[in-house]
């Protein structure tokens, strides 16, 4: 196997413990007091798998983010974990299609062997960016990869399907989205953090993009009003409630 040129797409998302609320007549996400993190699927699985591939066959890892200067914190973290260099396309994306179009515009001229995304972001949960990039570049897309190994020039990949997994083989180049199990999270060490400061981060201008979707309103789902407690010694009563009241069994 030749050395591989890898690209890992990273996204900035609100921390998982964030309280979600909206402002401006429920049309905008309230960013007040929100802490941001690198999207867990991108960090824990996609980036670390790219590192493992590089450790096995050599080559380089570039991380790419579409965002404004506030993304630099997560980009530096990705460099600290082990990416070689980074690209930030300077734009607050309008929708998932925008993110993919920007990344594809960069990747088009670079001939990456492997392009990774997380299986979804934990904010919009679109799960669209990987398949869109693959479409722009006319490459195969392997969604929800949970294991990847290389032998010769062949990749063997397992991916999540409903209630199981599918195993396939493929040769580069292709796009994949990373699911749990693909790799084990790595914590950046002091040396990585120091080195990250000197690694190259290129800021690129965005290409033109015509958005076709827009969020016009947010709502909070209705919470559960009250929890009915059932006596632990009377499970017949719980079964009765599930049958007669909730009508779910």
């Amino acid at each position: 196997m030749n050395a591989m040129k890898q690209l890992v797409c990273i996204s900035k998302t609100p921390d998982t413990t964030s309280r979600i609320s909206f402002v401006e007549d429920s049309t905008k996400f309230d960013t007040d007091g929100i802490q941001y993190i690198m999207n867990p699927y991108d960090e824990w699985y996609a980036l670390v798998k790219a590192l493992e591939v590089k450790e096995q066959v050599g080559g380089s890892i570039t991380v790419i983010n579409v965002g404004d200067a506030s993304s630099e914190q997560i980009i530096r973290k990705a460099l600290a974990i082990g990416a070689d260099d980074a690209i930030r396309v300077d734009k607050l994306a309008e929708d998932a299609g925008d993110v993919a179009a920007q990344i594809a515009a960069v990747a088009k001229n670079e001939a990456y062997d492997l392009i990774y995304t997380g299986k979804e972001t934990i904010d919009y949960n679109n799960s669209e960016v990987g398949s869109r990039i693959a479409a722009h570049l006319d490459l195969p897309f392997i969604s929800y990869a949970n294991a990847l190994s290389i032998e010769g020039d062949t990749f063997t990949i397992a991916r999540d399907i409903e209630g199981g997994s599918e195993v396939l083989t493929i040769q580069a180049p292709f796009v994949l989205s990373a699911s749990k199990g693909l790799a084990e999270q790595r914590i950046p060490n002091m040396r990585g953090i120091m080195m990250a400061k000197r690694k190259p981060l290129e800021v690129k201008e965005a290409v033109a993009y015509q958005a076709t979707s827009k969020i016009v309103e947010y709502e909070k789902p209705e919470g559960r009003t009250s929890c009915k407690l059932v006596d632990p010694d009377n499970m017949n009563e719980l079964v009765r409630l599930l049958h007669e009241e909730a009508k779910v069994i």
Partner: protein, 318 residues
């Protein structure tokens, strides 16, 4: 013009996800006064059945049964052009998710994935989907000529009231696949978690994998799928594909029974769209009770076997 729905199948049989997608497509078609056309790809045994769920026509393109998103998207895009599709509908499954973005790019279409409402056509084309891992719902406005929607499972129950359709063969698009599927491994016997109506889920309260029989017996008595919290999967007590929550599988069954799970915000993110939630926990202060419809405060090692017995007694009674 028409509504085109891609009816996916597993091993040659269209299942619940496909029936739900066709049911949804039928409703969209009625709303827009357009015909509803279903497409199947591969060697599908029961394609005609899609008629009973509301497809006016069922198209079939021959292919081998291995899923290659690049190939399937080409075939769907080809059909979309042939039938002049206004909206393309997919299931929001591993298959649908691999296709949705690609089709949107290929056809220059707007996309809303994982939708949980019918389109509102009163002002443009608006549709709702869950965001922030179930913590909010967003209304999307799609402004393109053609739209792609993937439909969240367990949201629009499949309704069969039509008649079997005649299956029409259509031309297969040529594609040199770069993917070779080696094997498809289904978790043994059980119901696939994302499709399940009933789910029994266990957390660290079980203390170890050796105690899982208690949970499995309840699941079996109910005919439920099994799930778990993240630390349970991370410790290898249960397989990864059972991990539900914000960083695992998101599910919305009719009934979710959470046993020995504290109800951390990241766990709730993947399950709080369930219709009914039952929580069994020995700690009355466990946060999960705030997100539950029914709660049992007690030791799971005593409560769960009693619940299993009660379920069995009920099932024998009906």
């Amino acid at each position: 013009m028409s509504i085109l729905v891609y009816a996916e199948h597993l091993d040659g049989t269209c299942k619940k996800a496909a029936f739900e997608a066709v049911t949804y497509a039928r409703k969209v078609a009625d709303e827009m006064s357009l015909p509803c056309i279903a497409l199947t790809i591969g060697d599908v045994g029961n394609a005609g059945e899609l008629g009973t769920y509301g497809a006016d026509r069922v198209l079939h393109a021959a292919a081998n049964n291995h899923f290659d998103g690049q190939h399937h998207a080409k075939q769907i895009a080809h059909a979309a052009t042939e039938v002049n599709a206004k909206v393309i509908i997919l299931s929001h499954t591993s298959t649908g998710k691999a296709l949705a973005g690609r089709l949107a790019v290929m056809l220059d279409a707007g996309l809303a994935s994982g939708v949980n409402s019918l389109p509102d056509l009163s002002t443009g084309f608006r549709v709702k989907r869950s965001v922030y891992s179930g913590k909010a719902v967003a209304t999307y406005e799609l402004s393109s000529d053609m739209q792609v929607l993937s439909v969240m499972g367990n949201t629009f129950p499949a309704q069969a009231n039509g008649t079997l359709a005649q299956v029409e063969q259509v031309e297969s698009v040529q594609h040199e696949s770069r993917i070779t599927v080696q094997s498809v491994n289904k978790a043994d016997g059980s119901v696939p978690l994302p499709e399940a109506d009933l789910v029994v889920s266990g957390g660290r309260g079980f203390k170890g994998p050796e105690n899982w029989d208690i949970l499995l017996q309840l699941a079996e008595a109910l005919g439920a799928a099994t799930a778990c919290s993240r630390p349970v999967a991370d410790s290898g007590w249960r397989p990864h594909h059972e991990h539900v929550g914000q960083t695992g599988v998101a599910i919305r069954p009719n009934l979710y029974i959470a046993i020995g799970i504290s109800g951390a915000i990241q766990h709730l993110g993947g399950v709080n769209n369930s219709k009914t939630i039952v929580v069994i926990n020995k700690d009355p202060e466990a946060p999960f009770f705030k997100a539950a419809d029914y709660g049992v405060v007690g030791d799971l090692f005593e409560v769960v076997p009693k619940l299993t017995a009660a379920v069995k007694a009920y099932k024998e009674g009906v």
